[in-house]
């Protein structure tokens, strides 16, 4: 029964393209997803500790037990004057350093400032960083397209400027820039690098300076830390650890799951779409096999009749058709995997430049073995079912009817 070469090849090709398309689709989509996810994940800490300015929870009236049972109504509560810095930054860092769950701690100083260029002033945020930690944990180097980030470590007069700011003030590498502080002081800094994050609002606002420089701009001492970025060993734990820290140190802790809820949803929906399309492709391939096997039965009616007449049971005939389908499925599936892999390689080498994502120059592809396994399994299952119904039909065929029909 193995002779209908042409049809068998066509059926196998149906599977090949189905599986191939599935793998290409999944590799490409998830590659793209990973890229976009990493765009956020790479630069987002698992937990972000900061001091949030908010009204005191327990107002003075709450301390007076006389009013415990009455309805208290205080209008226009305002937050009291308080510092932006994390008031107990050093003990927090010490504690985190000793915690086993924590992978890295990156202190930052965020400083409001103005970029001064000629007569124009631009609002900005200077982030004082320990540059080698930022590079190691948050892939800062991926976004710095001019200059060497490590220069910032030694140079307290250096700044890595967002490309949006640089363009607006028509500044380039090596130029000097004036930074105006909220208190009216002016700091001249030298541009030792430019970065492009892919998010315009960040590029238009953000720039990086040495931690010490930022502290000086704020007119503060060495223990002035406004933000602590934490990476954990397992990202899943972030909300729990964040609550813990919040309680323990009386700071605000924002975990990544809360801060990036929309990104989880986006990833989920994108995955859903690519799965739906792939499954549709595989179903089409399955129907192709079904069709061809169905036609094969009519063509092979005489053979079925004689097999049955000479003592092959319905089960034997069914098995012949099912095994044929599965052979088609396996051959097609393996070819599909090979096709998918090579097209993925091709896509991986296709140039892709985006100003939003400066560190990527070819299309992203994910070579997860999972897709290949799912692909071959699906090929197997789909062809089994595509073969199952025609084989039932072949098994039920009555040899007498066929022979009499001649």
């Amino acid at each position: 029964m193995l002779a209908r070469k042409k049809q068998t090849i066509i059926a196998a090709l149906g599977v090949t393209f189905g599986i191939g398309a599935y793998i290409i689709m999944m590799s490409f989509m998830s590659g793209l997803n990973d890229l976009l996810d990493n765009l956020i994940l790479n630069r987002t800490p698992h937990i972000h500790l900061f001091n949030e300015v908010k009204p005191t929870k327990k107002q003075p009236i709450d301390f007076d037990s006389n009013y415990n049972l009455t309805l208290k109504n205080i209008s226009s509560i305002k937050p009291k004057k308080q510092q932006i810095k994390i008031h107990n930054a050093i003990p927090i860092i010490d504690y985190l350093n000793s915690s086993k769950k924590v992978k890295s701690i990156t202190p930052q100083v965020k400083a409001q400032a103005f970029y001064l260029g000629g007569s124009s002033q631009l609002n900005g945020i200077l982030t004082g960083v320990i540059i080698q930690q930022e590079v190691a944990q948050y892939h800062l180097n991926d976004y710095i397209f001019e200059g060497n980030s490590m220069d910032l470590q030694q140079n307290e007069k250096g700044i890595i400027l967002g490309v949006g700011v640089a363009n607006k003030l028509s500044l380039k590498m090596g130029d000097n820039i004036q930074i105006g502080t909220l208190r009216g002081e002016i700091f001249p800094l030298k541009i030792i690098g430019l970065f492009q994050s892919g998010m315009t609002e960040v590029d238009n606002l953000q720039s990086y300076v040495n931690l010490r420089t930022a502290q000086r701009i704020m007119g503060e001492t060495n223990d002035y830390i406004t933000d602590i970025l934490i990476k954990l060993h397992t990202m899943k734990n972030a909300p729990v650890v964040a609550r813990e820290l919040e309680e323990k140190f009386n700071v605000s802790a924002l975990d990544i799951q809360t801060s990036n809820a929309q990104f989880d949803t986006g990833t989920f929906v994108r995955n859903l779409i690519s799965y739906a399309v792939s499954v549709a492709l595989l179903i089409v391939a399955g129907f192709g096999i079904y069709n061809i096997l169905n036609m094969l039965i009519y063509e092979k009616m005489n053979d079925i009749a004689i097999l049955k007449a000479t003592g092959f049971s319905s089960g034997d005939v069914r098995w012949i058709f099912i095994s044929q389908a599965i052979i088609i499925g396996i051959i097609g599936g393996i070819l599909g995997i090979i096709l998918g892999y090579f097209v993925s390689l091709l896509i991986d080498r296709t140039p892709f430049t985006s100003h939003a994502i400066p560190n990527v120059d070819t299309y992203p592809v994910n070579y997860d073995i999972k897709f290949y396994i799912v692909g071959i399994c699906f090929a197997f299952i789909a062809t089994y079912f595509a073969g199952y119904f025609p084989s039932q039909k072949a098994g039920k065929m009555d040899p007498v009817d066929i022979i009499r029909g001649q």
């Binding site: 029964m1 193995l2 002779a3 005489n302 053979d303 009749a305 004689i306 097999l307 049955k308 007449a309 000479t310 003592g311 092959f312 049971s313 319905s314 089960g315 034997d316 009555d398 040899p399 007498v400 022979i403 009499r404 001649q406």
Partner: protein, 223 residues
């Protein structure tokens, strides 16, 4: 010894209209007997053959094969009986075109699975030799002439050393020379191997040379 016994077998077709095609047929076939069934088209002779061959199970009455009740057995049992005890030769040869002559002949024996592939191959070559076809053994079946194909089909029917050969107009498609050859082969098998043969035919000359002729008319046996 009674090989095949049919007791008051009746069969009706329900589609398109209720037609009684076999009416209360009883017959008996002994070992080594060469019997032909004759009758006009539509008299039910092929239908009877298919019932006797166990392929058609939709009938009333009782069928015994080697004194064992066949009626009502499961299809697996029937398949096994066909495979082991009954050889078929049809008007058309029904060889599998993808396989060589030898493979076609070997197929039922492989299904039976009583012998090793090597033994089956030797058997198949022996059978082909009886039919004077051994030199064609490794050809594809579609390169053979009609008479040769029919001889291959007979070899296939013989491979499991059945008790009976059933033929539905095995010579119907052949010229008289080839028909004679086929008849002589049958005759020889019947005499030498003590094989029973039950052949449906239109061919008067063919039928006359057999041991017994069963004439059929409108679903009845007329002697």
């Amino acid at each position: 010894m009674s090989l095949l016994q049919a007791k008051s077998i009746s069969k009706s077709f329900h589609i398109p209209v209720e037609t009684e095609i076999l009416k209360n047929i009883s017959l008996e076939l002994n070992t080594g007997e060469f019997v032909s069934i004759m009758g006009k088209s539509g008299c039910g002779k092929s239908t009877l053959l298919y019932i006797l061959s166990t392929m058609d199970t939709d009938y009333t009455g009782e069928l015994y094969f080697e004194n064992q009740l066949i009626t009502g057995q499961k299809s697996g049992v029937l398949s096994r009986i066909r495979n082991e005890k009954i050889g078929f030769v049809f008007q058309f040869h029904y060889l599998l075109t993808e396989f060589s002559v030898l493979e076609n002949v070997m197929l039922p024996a492989k299904k039976l699975g009583k012998k090793s592939i090597q033994e089956i191959k030797e058997d198949a070559l022996t059978k082909l030799k009886i039919l004077d076809m051994e030199d064609q053994a490794f050809k594809k079946t579609n390169r053979l002439s009609g008479g040769q194909k029919q001889r291959v089909a007979i070899a296939r029917a013989l491979i499991n050393n059945p008790s009976i050969i059933m033929g539905d107009e095995p010579t119907g498609n052949l010229d008289s020379k080839n028909a004679d050859t086929v008849f002589n082969i049958f005759k020889e098998l019947s005499e030498k191997e003590n094989l029973s043969l039950l052949i449906v035919t239109h061919d008067e000359d063919f039928a006359k040379k057999t041991d017994r002729i069963i004439h059929m008319e409108d679903g009845n046996i007329v002697q």
